[in-house]
């Protein structure tokens, strides 16, 4: 009965407010990056399927959820749309990183400064002791503004490679404008988050990956393989 009480408080959800059956797994994904790079637009695009007409600076955090089905399993993707402005986020940071399943770094391709501050975001991530098994991706937003691009794809790709992250360039406003068509006609923003969800789904939780009666040693083995092998590069598809 105590559990029921808290669901009413949930705000910003676009899915129904009732709790899904306990079998549904929740993936908590945080979206971070400088102020004004389009984090809110990206998450809104994914959860509501459209570009928001008007957004204001996010204060603290907004939660957006979407129920998706992957390989027959219902999975709830819980996006934490974090505030980019320091004064709106400073006291919230430890909440962001608690039990997070994946991190999405966002920069604005038309704003070189937002790209330059990525190392600071990655550093913050590090400070909150996120394990290497937590997938991270890099998203360059606003690539529909072809004329004012300041961050070249090659520079961004180098940076992504250096940090073993897959890179995506997209636009929350017009995700289909992607010329090279790595994802055809489908919604590119959706494809990005679904890629993360697929990755998370295939990455079995440590406790659960233990076969009945198996020794704890198997956990370490599987984890080790995950870390060293592909380092995150192998699973993502860079569109650029």
């Amino acid at each position: 009965m105590a559990e029921r009480g808290s669901t009413g408080e949930f705000s910003g959800s676009l899915t129904s407010s009732t709790l899904p059956p306990p079998r549904t797994r929740i993936f908590k994904i945080i979206v971070i990056g400088d102020s004004g790079v389009g984090k809110t637009c990206l998450t809104y695009r994914f959860c509501a399927g459209k570009f928001p007409e008007k957004t204001e600076a996010t204060i603290g955090v907004d939660f957006r959820e979407r129920l998706v089905e992957i390989d027959g399993e219902n999975i709830k993707i819980q996006l934490w749309d974090t505030a980019g402005q320091e004064r709106f986020r400073k006291s919230m940071v430890q909440h962001y990183y608690r039990n997070v399943h994946a991190v999405v770094f966002v920069y604005d391709v038309t704003n070189a400064a937002s790209f330059r501050s990525l190392p600071a975001w990655i550093e913050e991530c590090k400070q909150h002791a996120l394990g290497t098994e937590v997938p991270r991706i890099l998203v360059g937003n606003k690539c529909d503004l072809q004329d004012s691009i300041q961050v070249g794809t090659d520079v961004a790709q180098q940076f992504a490679d250096a940090h073993s992250m897959p890179l995506f360039e997209t636009s929350a406003k017009n995700p289909n404008s992607q010329g090279d068509g790595s994802c055809g006609n489908s919604d590119h923003v959706e494809a990005i988050f679904m890629t993360v969800a697929h990755k998370l789904k295939s990455q079995k939780p440590l406790v659960l990956s233990q076969p009945p009666g198996g020794s704890p040693g198997t956990i370490n083995l599987s984890r080790g393989r995950d870390d060293s092998g592909d380092g995150g590069r192998g699973w993502g598809c860079s569109s650029c």
Binding site: M1, A2, E3, G5, S6, E9, F10, S11, P22, R23, R25, I26, K28, I59, G60, V61, F63, Q78, W80, R87, F88, S91, M92, H95, Y96, R98, N99, V207, L208, P212, G213
Partner: protein, 550 residues
């Protein structure tokens, strides 16, 4: 110039007169031819002179005319100058008028400017205020968002934990069914429950490090319980539960404070030792219960249980020491497992604050409330099974075998039979009852009243035998001050409004000792560990003190 002319003219006239005189003379003395000729000559001369003079007159007249014209011209010029002057004067006046007008306009503008300046100042102060408000709003908003985020996180954690537990249970059922098939014979009830409980316990210990320090001992105590139960019949089960796990032979009267700490963020209302004596729970107005490990004479914070939306009023551990029950100002009672900071059950139904919550069996809870009801709850169904209406505010209650004893604000202690749920006895008290405690052998009942007196009743000889304990300086500080009986039943402990812990000796009825100087405000509750070794007192100014005789 005129004067010159006039002078000239007069001289001319004189000359004319002179000439006339000469002429008359010559006329009167005509003398010969010579005289005639001279006269003729003179006449000619005169004529000539007259002509000259006439010419001179003409010339002078011409001069006069020229002068007059000059004069006229000058007069005309003068007039013109005067006109110009008048014009200039007009212009001057006009300009002066404009100057005045402009000055007037300037004044108006200045006033307007001042008004604008004032408005600007006001707007600026308004802006400052708004900025301040914005800051406050932002702070509030961020605070709310923080809470939302924390709630979201705990929800996620709860969900994943529930999933894990489910999976684990499935695994266990799978594993167990195999075992049963292998060993074909089975002892159904006791065998199937005991391994399950202990294995879940082990699982939790691995997951939550904070609880791990306490679990081995808890585990041992459960094992002890099961060991004991095996030998007995089913009927004796309840007795076993109520029997203290570690029996205290003699309580030691504390003499000094081992530790003083600010345990909560607001006043502390309740304190309780678990039956294993190494775990202490405190509950405060700050809405949380904190668990402390008691080891080597000091308290170490182990875990915080949250979930109540208001302050905690009363705490109790279950007989096995695995769960903790609390009553709250938020009109509910809450039940936690010790290894989980989120409440397992919330019992709602009371309409005012819940003042007391006690286990009356392994799966049964009794709560008393300010709404003048006592409720019985079944924990397995998480439902209220019985509501008892009482005449007065219930401040505390205790459970004995098949009975519930409740203390009330109408200075009465009532005894209820749990089977029939009827009041079987009423005992008078000297004032509002603030707390009750029952000795571990269930023979003696301690009540604390607002008249600053502790009363000990022998439950075997109802109402006949009654001892009162008072002391100089002892003053019951609030309507919920809690007094306790030591685990061996030989001493009573209570905290006073002046921050002193008083301990009485039951056998002779005298004050045994006073423990002053550590609390600075009214003591709200004390608890005596079952080992008899420690006493903890808590007060309204966030302080908890651990006392011992060492």
């Amino acid at each position: 110039m005129f004067q010159d002319l006039i002078c000239f003219y007069t001289r001319l006239l004189q000359k004319t007169c002179l000439t006339k005189g000469i002429l008359s003379c010559s006329i009167r003395q005509p003398s010969g031819d010579s005289s005639v000729s001279s006269l003729l000559l003179q006449n000619n001369q005169l004529k000539k002179t007259t002509g000259e003079l006439a010419f001179q007159v003409l010339e002078l007249q011409q001069h006069i005319q020229i002068r007059e014209e000059e004069l006229k011209e000058q007069q005309a010029r003068l007039g013109e100058e005067e006109r110009q002057l008048a014009g200039a004067f007009d212009v001057h006046q006009e300009l002066q008028g404009r100057v005045e007008q402009l000055q007037e306009e300037n004044r108006v503008l200045k006033v307007e400017y001042d008004a604008l300046l004032e408005r600007q100042r006001r707007a600026e102060s308004c802006l400052r205020d708004e900025k301040l408000r914005e800051g406050h709003l932002l702070e509030d908003m961020i605070h709310l968002k923080q809470q939302a985020a924390a709630r979201m996180n705990s929800r996620n954690e709860r969900r994943s934990r529930a999933r894990e537990a489910n999976l684990r249970k499935e695994l266990q059922t799978a594993a167990r069914s195999k075992v049963i098939i292998d060993s074909s014979s089975s002892a159904p009830s006791s065998r199937s429950t005991s391994p399950k409980t202990s294995s879940t316990e082990r699982g939790h210990a691995r997951l939550f490090r904070s609880a791990s320090a306490t679990s081995p001992r808890i585990l041992k105590s459960i094992k002890d319980l099961f060991e004991k139960r095996r030998g007995h019949s089913v009927c004796s089960l309840e007795e076993d539960q109520f029997g203290p796990v570690g029996i205290c032979l003699s309580a030691r009267v504390p003499v000094r404070a081992l530790q003083v700490l600010e345990a909560h963020e607001q006043g502390i209302n309740a304190v309780r030792f678990s039956c294993s004596s190494d775990l202490l729970a405190t509950g405060g107005t700050d809405r949380v219960i904190k668990l402390w490990e008691v080891r080597a004479g000091s308290l170490t914070h182990r875990a915080t249980l949250d979930g109540s939306t208001e302050g905690i009023t009363c705490i109790e551990f279950d007989p096995k020491g695995l769960r903790i029950l609390a009553a709250s100002y938020d009109k509910s009672a809450l039940l936690w497992r010790l290894d989980d900071s989120v409440p397992k059950l919330t019992l709602t139904g009371h309409s005012r604050k819940v003042t007391a919550a006690r286990f009356s069996g392994l799966h049964q809870v009794v709560t008393g409330s300010a709404d003048r009801t006592i409720r019985l709850w079944d924990l397995q169904r998480a439902a209220c099974v019985q509501v008892v209406e009482v005449a007065s505010y219930c401040s505390d209650l205790v459970c004995s075998e098949n009975s519930i004893i409740s203390g009330h604000y109408d200075s009465r202690i009532r005894v209820w039979d749990t089977r029939t749920v009827s009041c079987i006895q009423e005992l008078p008290a000297q004032g509002r009852v603030t707390s009750l405690d029952i000795s571990s052998d269930h023979r003696q009942l301690l009540s604390c009243c607002r008249d600053d007196c502790l009363q000990l009743v022998d439950l075997r000889r109802w109402s006949n035998d009654r001892m009162c304990f008072r002391a100089d300086g002892f003053k019951c500080g609030s309507d919920s001050t809690k007094a306790v009986i030591s685990p061996d039943g030989c001493f009573l402990a209570a905290g006073s409004a002046d921050g002193v812990v008083y301990i009485w000796n039951v056998t002779n009825g005298n004050l045994e000792t006073r423990l002053p100087d550590k609390h600075s405000s009214s003591i709200s509750a004390v608890s005596w560990s079952l080992s008899g070794q420690y006493v903890v007192s808590v007060d309204k100014s966030r302080r908890a003190v651990l006392w011992s005789d060492i």
